[in-house]
């Protein structure tokens, strides 16, 4: 394996892990409500902007990160409470358009509060690269990957081994039956926005030291995360993770071997091809059900 290839792989997987976290957020909210939340990328932006702002204002580093993520969760719950909930009887398309409106509002608010400039966040544990097979791996990449792996296992446990997680799955599979089992499906919707915001927020503070942060950083990240979710089959958590890594690695390879000008197009080309060949996504598969 050449050093170049390894280098592209490292950066692809790092970027892909962030897409996976964003894609998971899309899938979780979609499962609870069939809504595609186009403000998902803004969750990433809010956490990064808030954390950088607090660090610049002199707040302790870890506290600033935690506050950035916490603020994102508050924004996520507020988005559900004040924008989605009042319109819950509207069609899904209307709700999706509301999330697009919310994303524009959040970008505007971030510009007002944090300015239009690009801001950088210091890496969690230095910038001394680790050299593996001739390729440089930044410690921040290890943070991204490590935290993502922990989150994936924690989510798996939440959905498979806790009643709250199973209640969210039940609501996804059959919202009417979920209500008949005593599950408060409105609360599940609120919880799904909180969870999606949490994932977006964590992705935001993880990626900020690698990619600068600015008010519109969430736009592309949101779209790539959306591609990741669609690629793996919308609503399939494992699919979102695989989709995220696939998009990230393909991008890095294209940028490295072809031209970085085509980098952003890759995700959208992949998604076109996959949707034509496998409309249900890579993990869409056939569902097993006897009636």
């Amino acid at each position: 394996m050449s050093a170049d290839f390894l280098q592209f792989l490292f950066s692809g997987i790092t970027q892909g892990a962030c897409y996976a976290l964003v894609g998971l957020g899309f899938s979780i909210i979609y499962n609870a409500s069939q809504v595609i939340n186009f403000a998902q990328g803004e969750f990433v932006m809010i956490a990064g902007m808030a954390a950088v702002g607090l660090i610049d204002a002199g707040a302790p580093f870890v506290l600033a990160l935690a506050a950035g993520v916490a603020l994102t969760v508050v924004v996520g719950v507020a988005l559900e409470k004040f924008a989605i909930e009042p319109a819950r009887n509207a069609s899904v398309v209307t709700l999706i358009i509301i999330t697009i409106g919310a994303s524009i509002f959040l970008r505007g608010a971030a510009e007002l509060l944090g300015g239009r400039g690009f801001r950088s966040m210091p890496a969690f544990s230095g910038n001394e690269p680790i050299v593996i097979g001739g390729a440089a791996l930044l410690p921040q990449s290890l943070w991204v990957l490590g935290v993502t792996v922990v989150i994936i296992f924690a989510l798996g446990r939440f959905f498979n081994a806790t009643m709250h997680g199973k209640a969210m799955l039940a609501t996804a599979y059959n919202p009417v039956m979920a209500q008949l089992m005593g599950i408060n499906t409105r609360l599940v919707l609120s919880l799904s926005f909180a969870l999606a915001a949490l994932l977006g927020g964590i992705a935001g503070v993880l990626i900020a030291p690698l990619s600068l942060t600015y008010s519109t950083v969430g736009v592309m990240l949101g779209l790539k995360g959306f591609c990741a979710a669609i690629l793996g089959g919308l609503g399939k958590p494992m699919g979102a993770i695989a989709g995220g890594l696939l998009v990230g690695v393909s991008e890095a390879m294209t940028a490295g071997y072809l031209s970085s000008a085509y980098k952003d197009a890759v995700a959208f080309v992949i998604i076109l091809v996959v949707l034509v060949v496998l409309p249900g996504g890579l993990f869409g598969g056939r569902s097993v059900e006897r009636v």
């Binding site: 599979y173 209500q179 008949l180 089992m181 059900e289």
Partner: protein
């Protein structure tokens, strides 16, 4: 003179577990239920029969809180529940086994059961699971199997077992015989009789009028959204209107 507390207690005992008065339901401009009133005594086994589109499923949707009542009141054990959310009604013990069973196909049998007991404590869930498996041993053998892979009859058993996990005071069953072979229908109805004998109040909504009237004590006939007949199930079975319209005799 001392007012007799005994008669007050008798009145409380005589009060039905479920009392529906003047219930109306609408789908937009279409009126699906009109002035429906019924009463189900505590411990009773009551049926409501009616043809396709009579409004049977709509009635159960309104009772469970999935569809708001346009008018009228629903009382459970004396408490007005007309405005309560569906999940709150489940907590009060009003449990429905919906039409078409609605098992959560990708989840395991055991997860389906546990979710049935979602409103119950961990301990009650464990007890309920034990009882469910004692009642339906076939489910225990396949407890890790995805519920969607069960046969129709087994899915109906799972749907009933799942409802029992919630410890129902009143069990609503929507067309439990639908799509099942005659032998399986026998099994399902035997189960319903056993549940009622064990003290659960049961309200069965059925298109299969003969079977439903054979097991119930009291019966209602719903037609075009209105209750047109009511009486002892045995008497209705020999009523000429019921025989002509629903029994094909």
């Amino acid at each position: 003179m001392s007012s007799p507390p005994i008669s007050a207690r008798e009145a409380a005992i005589a009060e039905p577990l479920l009392e529906v008065q003047g219930l109306e339901a609408r789908y937009g401009p279409i009126r699906a239920l009109a002035d429906v009133s019924l009463a189900i005594a505590d411990g009773g086994l009551v049926t409501l029969i009616g043809g396709n589109g009579a409004g049977k499923t709509t009635l159960l949707r309104v009772l469970s809180g999935l569809l708001p009542a346009a008018a009228g009141t629903i009382r459970l054990a004396g408490q007005d529940i007309t405005a309560l959310a569906a999940s709150a009604r489940v907590r009060l013990g009003l449990i429905q086994v919906p039409e078409g069973r609605q098992v959560l196909a990708p989840l395991s049998i055991e997860d389906n059961l546990l979710l049935g007991g979602y409103t119950r404590t961990r301990r009650e869930q464990a007890e309920g699971l034990e009882q469910a498996y004692a009642m339906f041993p076939a489910l225990e053998q396949r407890r890790r199997t995805a519920a969607g892979l069960l046969s129709g009859g087994q899915q109906q058993m799972l749907a009933i077992a799942r409802a029992l996990m919630a410890k129902p005071r009143l069990l609503l069953l929507d067309e439990p015989s639908m799509g099942l072979s005659p032998i399986l229908v026998d099994e399902v109805f035997e189960t319903i009789v056993r549940l009622a004998a064990a003290g659960t109040t049961v309200f069965v909504v059925e298109q299969n009028a003969f079977r439903a009237l054979s097991i119930a004590e009291h019966a209602y006939v719903l037609e075009a959204g209105r209750i047109i007949l009511e009486g002892a199930a045995g008497a209705l079975k020999s009523d000429h209107r019921v025989r002509e319209a629903y029994l094909g005799l």
